[in-house]
Symmetry: none
Subunit: 155 residues, 2 copies
DNA sequence: GTACATTGTGGGTAGAAGTGGGGGAATGTG
DNA sequence: CACATTCCCCCACTTCTACCCACAATGTAC
């Protein structure tokens, strides 16, 4: 299981391509070395899954019953804004136009390694979300979320 | 198992033909490379099944008991509005007039990859259904449906 | 520091993809 | 049988994409 970490800013060229950060590339599972699925994230950023990790998401999706309305809605809206992309010979990722527009990515893109996936942000959107969270409230949030997973039982 | 994803808008020409999106074509099972079944969807859109996936639908249909009224009604109305179509040499799909009319498709068509099938929407109908689902209720729905299948991690 | 490899960036170009239309074969109708 | 209609093949054109080469900046080895 790859574990992506770190933050890297790169230029998006006029053709919508971005260099894939070398350090993240070193964390890739060799079997999926060049294939990704990119899609809208739950925040205003894009998620980038290497193929092996994406497969796990698809396995879950494939169990949804398409003959129920709810199943169809979920499947449609999840897959709708997803595309497969590959690195080119210079290790660049093409950002699909629609997705880049939606995420406000233009000129610069920031890659954030986030465990099994990578997030891609526009600098502006990232700033906005950063400044919406003070360090103090982040500390509080961190303690609460991480606290859930140890034996601490204070509520 | 193909897995269609992504959303692509194309023009419908005066003869009722639409280019089949190249990225979806790459997800086709080669053995069914050019044959599809197209039919009325359960939402106001058309469903497009490559031949191999359609076979699975037929298998399900064949298990319906024709000696019940409900069974007959389902079968009749499901197959009634289904047609076989193939890509032409320029990778275009002919949209049968009656089906296109029913789905309100005219001028522009939006393809949405949705796992084992492809949905074809008119831009207007798609907008309408989009605005009927808030992001919050979608998140709730998503968590509920995806959560149902979360228990089986062992293989 | 110098030599060399890797990484990040930009751009040219051939081929693919998307779009539109002409014309002949097949089909249907009076 | 004449005629209209539809379907499918071919051709033409524009736009986009993938692949190629180039080069500057950075990092690494010695």
């Amino acid at each position: 299981m790859p574990s992506f970490k770190g933050q890297y800013e790169h230029s998006v060229d006029s053709k919508g391509r971005v260099s894939f950060p070398a350090k993240l590339r070193k964390s890739l599972n060799p079997e999926a070395q060049e294939r990704f699925t990119i899609l809208r994230g739950l925040e205003p950023c894009l998620y980038l899954y290497p193929e092996d990790e994406w497969q796990k998401v698809e396995d879950q999706l494939s169990q949804i019953n398409s003959f129920t309305k709810e199943g169809r809605t979920v499947k449609r809206n999840f897959l709708r804004f997803a595309e497969d992309v590959s690195l080119d010979n210079q290790n660049r990722i093409p950002l699909p136009t629609q997705l880049a527009d939606w995420a406000g990515i233009d000129g610069k893109a920031i890659f954030i390694g986030s465990g099994e996936r990578i997030e891609v942000w526009s600098p502006e959107k990232l700033n906005a979300i950063d400044s919406g969270l003070s360090f103090e409230s982040y500390q509080e949030l961190f303690e609460r979320v991480m606290g859930d997973h140890d034996t601490n039982d204070e509520t």
